[in-house]
Assembly symmetry: C2
Homo-oligomer: 302 residues x 2
Amino acid sequence: MENRVCSLFNIKYPIVSGGMVWCSGWRLASAVSKCGGLGLLGAGSMHPDNLRYHIRMCRENLGELPFGVNVPLLYPEMELLMKILIEEKVKIVFTSAGSPKKWTPYLKEHGIVVCHVVSSALFAEKCEKAGVDAVVAEGFEAGGHNGREETTTLCLVPKVREATSLPLLAAGGIALKCQIKAVEALGAEGVQIGTRFALSQESSAHRMFKEHCTSLGEGGTRLLLKKISPTRLAYGSRFTETVEKMEAEGADREEMMQYLGKGRAKRGIFEGDINEGEIEIGQACSLVNSIESVEQIMKSLI
Amino acid sequence: MENRVCSLFNIKYPIVSGGMVWCSGWRLASAVSKCGGLGLLGAGSMHPDNLRYHIRMCRENLGELPFGVNVPLLYPEMELLMKILIEEKVKIVFTSAGSPKKWTPYLKEHGIVVCHVVSSALFAEKCEKAGVDAVVAEGFEAGGHNGREETTTLCLVPKVREATSLPLLAAGGIALKCQIKAVEALGAEGVQIGTRFALSQESSAHRMFKEHCTSLGEGGTRLLLKKISPTRLAYGSRFTETVEKMEAEGADREEMMQYLGKGRAKRGIFEGDINEGEIEIGQACSLVNSIESVEQIMKSLI
């Protein structure tokens, strides 16, 4: 499986674990990197000092093996976060949820490999112009925050492949080996997997979150909160029922923001409040029925 | 490419053109069958006598080559339609939009090969119990009427593959050869292609419909009308803007039905009224940029 993605990140298998809020701490990231993939830390749910701790723990566990950090570009204390990435000599950064133009030159100046997550070919072209090293094309199936175009991985990957010559990873809906083969046929050179790793033993998510998500079947998630920012969530809790009812009855953005409040994702994913928290998870959860170790998962994928 | 789907339908390539309302008349169906695939007539937009005419025209053009008829099980004059299928000795029927239990035994008694379109593995199991010969797993990307689970082709096909041992075709979002390879990796043994054939020269759709749809880019379609029946439509006309506004403001099912009225699909697809008609088309239209002949399309796929 040696290819451009493997060379770029210096990994054995072109499999990246997504940097997911409240899931992707040092335990998950290190486990994936130890198995020959690339583990990412999810900075989105970490205070800067906490991120520093997780980076150090990764290094302690991994030695010279690579790992990376996912940075949502809407992070409130971005300057401080960037400072930490440089100070801690992080070598790989995945950026998402924003324009690749703003931080790519800064990261590249510091010798960091930059990979940007896109939900359209249009943005992939912008990435190439901004000088990023690789793109992740993430489809409608993905958990959590999601593109407005609703383009699925099957339609997105060939379109992005046509738009850019950069190394290309596919994401969104991928949990099985046959799906890795499928996106390779579409032109992807590697994959970023979220849901399956979010539900692994090493994920920092709450046991209740993992048990709930592994029990979900077809139609178990839905893209909701479109008036704020489209977000894929497990479906059928008190929270999503209220959201759906409000949306169906025409609540506006402000009313939705007010009901949503703060800290719902932490409550759902990290504290395991299935009924009132935001259970961010991808459509692929219907293909994941048990809580496995990262080693078991990696073995089944390669 | 010889496999179970080819044997079942007695075709050279496991490529079926969808039986699409206002697109799939005898010209399109015959052209696909002549090129070694399986052309379907779309009974959904045909009065019974008109269907009889299209069946006869297919036979006249195809001789012994196979073709089929797609029957949406919500068809208002179902008894009459079934009578015509038998009288005209149709050999292959694809049923959709309903339970496979009701008509499968009747069709099978008359020696007809039955294939049912599903949007979930749950329904694929029901198909097997009902005695159908093959299933089409159609994902969220598909144009027109669509499953409520919103499961994409990438997530649906492996799930259906696991649920049934029947010959399996994939549909939804497939317009390119690389996508055929992708769904084969997921376990499909053939494909049903809608959008690309709807936009072919031989499709009965209006020239304006074809020109509009081939000009659409990413995010050019959206799943709308969820309070009535989820339908994928080209996005950005006066009609869809009104639908979106009404939906955002909480219009109920009845209000939506009243605004929708009757004959919108005919108006959009067959009469080419881009602004006020329903432009039913799949997400794959962003991958289709010109109006080609069926021969050109088939060549590019095989």
